[in-house]
Symmetry: C2
Subunit: 119 residues, 2 copies
């Protein structure tokens, strides 16, 4: 849960079923969910649902690689886009943001380890 963006007005709205991004898309921004829920879909299988306070799309932003999965609005959503410049600024100015991103990445790793029994 991360509240840094809760009062931001530069959000984008998505409707249920709408794709926020698709696997293979070039990286541009990550998103912070300030309202609604987003399904993460990999090879046609839903692997996670992210709610208010979650971030998504951070992997592509960090290593400048294409998206790994689809992100589809599950409900009406409000998402704040964070581009590389804003991301780097947040990491520099808000250590709690950096730690939050790290914890999110570790959660994803733990989830994968659980799901696959591999590392």
């Amino acid at each position: 849960m991360f509240n840094l963006f809760q009062n931001t007005t530069d959000y984008i709205e998505f409707q249920p079923g709408e794709a926020i991004f698709r696997a293979g898309d070039p990286p541009d921004v990550m998103y912070s969910v300030i309202d609604g829920e987003v399904d993460i879909v990999f090879n046609g299988k839903k692997i996670n649902t992210l709610g208010k306070g979650s971030i998504l799309g951070e992997m592509a932003l960090i290593d400048a690689s294409p998206r790994s999965a689809d992100a589809i609005a599950r409900t009406p959503c409000k998402l704040v886009p964070v581009d590389e410049k804003r991301f780097n600024f947040l990491v520099q100015q808000t250590p709690f943001f950096a730690l939050f991103v790290m914890r999110t990445l570790v959660e994803r790793l733990r989830l994968m380890i659980q799901e696959t029994g591999k590392i």
Copy 2:
């Protein structure tokens, strides 16, 4: 590759075959490799070899969970231990360190996606 610790003298030496940590161990520190190579072993299978400039054990430090895998010295190694206090200090004072940790975590995720075909 991360050079912040290259001139540090508070390193620990490990001999080939020696365990740096084992899966299930409680988290205490992460390590930065300043010399040598470390094998990461999961369920008896080597999944990665980390060299000079790599970090290991960062997951357990970030989410305070037990170790996910064994880390075994492959060659004579010099590792700098980084406890939570030092880690948080580095994240706050050295944004490049925070970004390096994030990139490392994303690399691990990409590797898992490749290995398992899952996310």
